[in-house]
């Protein structure tokens, strides 16, 4: 049954506030994982110990491009205390061709993936051999005894060079171009002809690292049944399938558990330590521990794609965007990994949150011998944002318009379509976020000296949540109530620190009418918790949140049906609050609807302004109440199910047409604006960030503390991208091997971020929530670049905006 005034949009448009409608949703709650973290009790992946544990190290290649001629491990193997030394030949299935899906196989691009280096080295940092020994010191010493013979090869380190037909082949194919996409809308030649101003520029973005505080780590062992059990910091426990395939064992003989992560950001989305651990456990039959050093993490794990972007944008004298031509080239590094998908995100978001009449986008991702690039928070939405927001400011300047004014002429609204044809049917509040962000920025501060220039800048960003729809994404969750009224959630959700697990407790508490403290969440076990899918693509609130909502709603329905019998009241007129079942005056059911294709919606009648007479309770008796615990016990006695395991299916679409870029890629997108004020010293180039405002439509903040935390954290993650972070490679060799060279913003580099959350209720997540983990970090670098350009009157076209680049732009050096 679907509420009459709710369309099939999943939107929860209500007039009353969350505080009126919900018991815990929308309230700032401490997370259940907060106390153990505050008191040092949480056991992270690298903290875990098992008796008899061996210590592992990975030997990594010395060259970025080389033929791997020979490896001699005899001396290392002979060392006392060494339990195993493995190379490619010891891996049952060392090579796989990834048909990306992460959770399952899906058509599309193929990329060669190797567990250990073989034949040809493709980036410096590729693992060549694995050692397990009694102590870390012995493993280290054994590594030094492994003799590797390389034949250095020329290599290629620039994607535009690598694209050329005669370029050095990084892999086994003649061409380094992994894939390319196009978007075509209208006729750009006509569009530019009609434009009154045209701006054409080249933009570059740098390689950056996720730099989570917790380096990659894990411990693995054989359980009593011989199942290879891996407890590792991972965003994807579903990798157990790929790991099993590598080892040549059945998929149900590998178990991946993830504890609380010390940060992920997409860097622990691909397999890091898991397969190495599994191989060593399979070989030694002993528990094995592997933790990367920070240097190893910077050297060897995935990075954000550097991009070169050629943008040409045309507008009429009124500021209407009539033509945009963009050519984007990303550096895929030594292996394909998720490059095709990151590129797809860039392709579809290349136009930004704007309506542009004529569009031509061509994008390419190209292999080089640089560190391999893959997922990083934003997944390809960040780089184009830097470009399209700069283009808008430059057009504005030429037209004598204010940055906000030109944007307001072009913002997409609900019901408009992206250049790729996708209609934005859910809430699109970009314009509101820009107005509010700029308002909060206030008038420019006064410079403190005559060598200081103050600048303000805004940037609006568009970033999806939920995975690509051709993946037919699903998520599962189990909810039960215990006989004493406490509740249990079992869900494979991986918690990176964004409160992914705690949110499920909050949702369950809301639906079951019990305090959040009475819900316990067991998460992240591929054998024991229903698989929730990856913690990536800003999808967990949407997916496992909805799955949990669905499961909890089913349990609730069972309980209320029983209560209805016990109280002689129609269950639709019963509600649960503070562990008590009571009669409510109007029909307010939880409704789960499932379409024929498996798409689900969970809606809550909630509090509505106008109540229909037919839906009023005929006999509301406020004294008719029952403790929930009594209902549970009665239901248990009847054999009524007190649990439910639910699967939530996201809407699915076929793969889009890569030649035209037309089609729908994601279920929904999040829109927001970041505003920044900077003070630039025009003689030293030093930039100080004075104000940082982040305004996003979050749909519904499930936990305002968490939602703010994502906006604040995303703002600073993006600020680092714009201001201080740069992984510098020279012919594939890193010159920034530690956190002394790779600079993250410290507490002294960041102002207090001011966040403004709009809550349109127009998201498709539980209670109308939108995903914000990635979207929050998409605009800040662009806003910074715009603010600096505003301060000094000239623009820096490549990130990060280092002081030296400011001086170069000013012509001072």
């Amino acid at each position: 049954m679907l509420e009459k005034n709710h369309q099939n949009s999943g939107a929860q448009k209500t007039t009353s506030s969350a505080a009126d409608r919900y018991q815990v949703i929308g309230k700032p709650m401490p997370r259940h994982d907060a106390w153990p973290k505050a008191t040092g009790e949480t056991i992270y992946a690298g903290d875990y110990k098992r008796p008899g544990m061996l210590y592992a190290k990975a030997l990594r290649s010395e060259y970025a491009a080389a033929e791997l001629v020979a490896i001699d491990t005899r001396e290392a193997l002979a060392m006392p205390g060494v339990a195993a030394v493995l190379t490619a030949k010891d891996v049952p299935h060392n090579e796989t061709v990834t048909r990306f899906g992460q959770t399952h196989t899906v058509g599309g691009f193929e990329g060669l993936y190797r567990v250990l280096a073989d034949k040809k080295i493709r980036f410096k940092g590729e693992a060549v051999a694995l050692v397990a020994a009694k102590t870390l010191a012995i493993a280290q010493a054994a590594m030094e005894k492994i003799k590797v013979t390389y034949k250095p090869l020329e290599g290629v380190f620039d994607p535009e060079t690598a694209m050329q037909p005669d370029a050095y082949p990084v892999g086994e194919d003649a061409s380094n171009v992994v894939c390319s996409y196009k978007v075509r809308k209208g006729d750009v030649a006509k569009g530019f002809a009609a434009a009154d101003v045209i701006v054409e520029n080249r933009y570059r973005t740098q390689m950056v690292d996720h730099a989570y505080l917790e380096p990659e780590a894990g411990v693995a062992w054989l359980d009593d049944d011989g199942v290879i059990t891996i407890r590792a910091a991972t965003q994807v426990i579903e990798h157990f399938r790929g790991i099993a395939d590598v080892l040549g064992v059945p998929q149900n003989r590998v178990r991946v558990i993830t504890p609380m992560l010390g940060g992920g950001f997409g860097g622990k989305e691909d397999i890091t330590v898991e397969t190495y651990l599994a191989l060593l456990v399979q070989k030694t039959r002993k528990p094995v521990s592997l933790t990367y050093t920070r240097e190893e993490s910077i050297l060897a794990h995935s990075k954000r794609h550097p991009y070169v972007m050629y943008y040409k944008t045309g507008a009429t004298k009124n500021g209407k965007l009539v033509a945009m031509e963009a050519r984007l080239i990303s550096d895929a590094g030594g292996y394909v990994y998720l490059s095709p998908w990151v590129l797809l995100y860039s392709t579809v978001t290349a136009t930004g949150p704007y309506d542009i009449t004529n569009v031509k986008v061509d994008t390419f991702t190209v292999l080089t011998n640089n560190t391999f690039t893959s997922a990083n928070r934003g997944f390809g939405a960040n780089q184009p944002c830097f470009a399209y927001e700069a283009q808008l400011d430059e057009l504005a300047k030429k037209l004598g318009m204010a940055p906000l004014a030109i944007r307001r002429k072009n913002y997409l609204h609900t019901g408009d379509a992206l250049a790729s044809g996708r209609v934005l049917e859910h809430a699109v509040e970009t314009e509101q976020t820009a107005v509010k962000a700029l308002e909060a920025l206030g008038p420019p501060s006064r410079p403190r000296s005559d060598r200081q220039r103050i600048g303000q800048g805004i940037a609006s960003g568009i970033s999806p949540y939920g995975r690509m729809m051709f993946l037919h994404d699903t998520s599962r969750s189990f909810v039960s109530v215990e006989l004493d009224g406490s509740a249990t959630v079992r869900c494979g959700v991986q918690d990176l620190g964004g409160g992914q697990a705690s949110t499920l407790a909050q949702i369950t508490a809301e639906v079951l009418g019990i305090p959040m403290e009475k819900v316990t969440v067991f998460h992240g076990d591929s054998s024991l918790t229903p698989l929730a899918g990856t913690t990536t693509a800003t999808r967990q609130l949407y997916m496992s949140g909805n799955a949990t909502l669905k499961a909890a709603a089913a349990v609730r329905q069972n309980l209320l049906r029983k209560a209805g019998t016990m109280m002689a009241v129609d269950p639709d007129f019963l509600d649960i609050r503070d562990e008590t079942v009571f009669v409510q005056t109007a029909r307010k059911p939880w409704v789960i609807t499932e379409s024929e294709s498996g798409e689900c919606q969970v809606t809550y009648g909630g509090d509505r302004g106008d109540l229909i007479a037919a839906e009023m309770c005929p006999d509301p008796d406020p004294d008719k109440t029952l403790p929930l615990r009594d209902v549970i016990r009665a239901a248990a006695a009847d054999g009524i199910a007190l649990f439910n395991v639910a699967q939530f299916n996201a809407p699915a679409r076929e793969l889009i047409d890569f030649k035209t870029g037309q089609g729908q890629v994601w279920p929904d997108l999040t829109f927001g604006t970041v505003a920044m004020e900077v003070a630039v010293d025009i003689e030293t180039g030093t930039i100080e960030v004075l104000k940082l405002i982040s305004c996003f439509d979050v749909g519904q903040a499930i936990n305002p503390l968490s939602a703010e935390g994502q906006l604040e954290g995303g703002a600073v993650y993006g600020l680092g991208y714009g201001l201080t972070e740069d992984i510098i490679l020279e012919k594939g060799i890193t010159l920034t091997p530690t956190l002394s060279e790779y600079l993250l913003p410290t507490a002294m580099d960041t102002p207090a971020v001011r966040t403004i959350m709009l809550q349109s209720g127009g998201g498709i997540g539980p209670f109308g929530a939108k995903g914000i983990g990635e979207p929050s970090n998409v605009p800040p670098a662009a806003a910074l670049a715009n603010a600096v350009a505003n301060a000094i009157g000239v623009r820096v076209y490549d990130l990060p905006v280092f002081p030296e680049k400011v001086l170069k732009a000013l012509g001072r050096i």
Binding site: A141, L735, L743, M748, P803, E804, R812, I813
Partner: protein, 285 residues
Amino acid sequence: MQTVEYLKPADMNELAALMQQYAARATFIAGGTNLIPDMRSGRHRPEVLLDIGDLKAMNAIALNDDHLSIGAAATIARIAADATVNAHCPILAAAAAKLGNPLTRNRATIGGNLANASPCADTAPPLLSLEALVEIMDVKGQQRQVPLDKFFRGYKWTDLAPGEVITRIVVPKPSSGMQGGHTKLGLRKAAAICVASVAVMLEKENDHIAKARVAFGSVAPKPIRAYRLEAFFEGKAADATLLSQCEPILQQEIAPISDIRGSEAYRRQVTAVIFKRNLQELLWS
């Protein structure tokens, strides 16, 4: 795996005895903020560690008639906060406060900072401009004092022979008319390796510059005194034209390189800027 020996002398006599015994095999550790990462990476493989960090004599900060004596093992944090240092050589305290981050400042020592002799050593430019001396004890227990500008010989190369240790830093009390300034530029506001730094000590007499001492960091293979720049300023009237006139001399004094933190051109530009700002501040505010 090579075994490393560790010894912690209780006082200076014990230290001298150990130094005589181990001679060139001894490596000194106080804060260890450079040495420990170097040991981990293999850049340094010491045989014998002599821990001098807690030696009372090497931790003392004392004001004498004509000089300030700072024990080599005094931590950077202590120096930054010390009342005597702040009163008599505030630019040293200022530079100390900008070294590393608060956690490393609680361990790093002034002796270690100088012995490590990085061209970016944060305490070096102020100490050079203060004409400080380092007191060194050799393996035979004999002391010598070496002016800091002679102590730094080249890139990470000092006057210390193997087995020798800095015991204290001697800072002559600046005359009452001497005022100082210090600027450090880095790529972020905390925990930043220096891109360029300057320390200036100036004494004015009736609108003329009576004495000038200038030192730069991170713009040469070692921290340097800029003698020719000093000579240029001394005796001159404190006139705004000095700022442009001194530029070519300044550029001749420094020899910055291009590295991941910045190009030579950038360093030349900003060094001149921060030097002139300090000069302006000292002469005309």
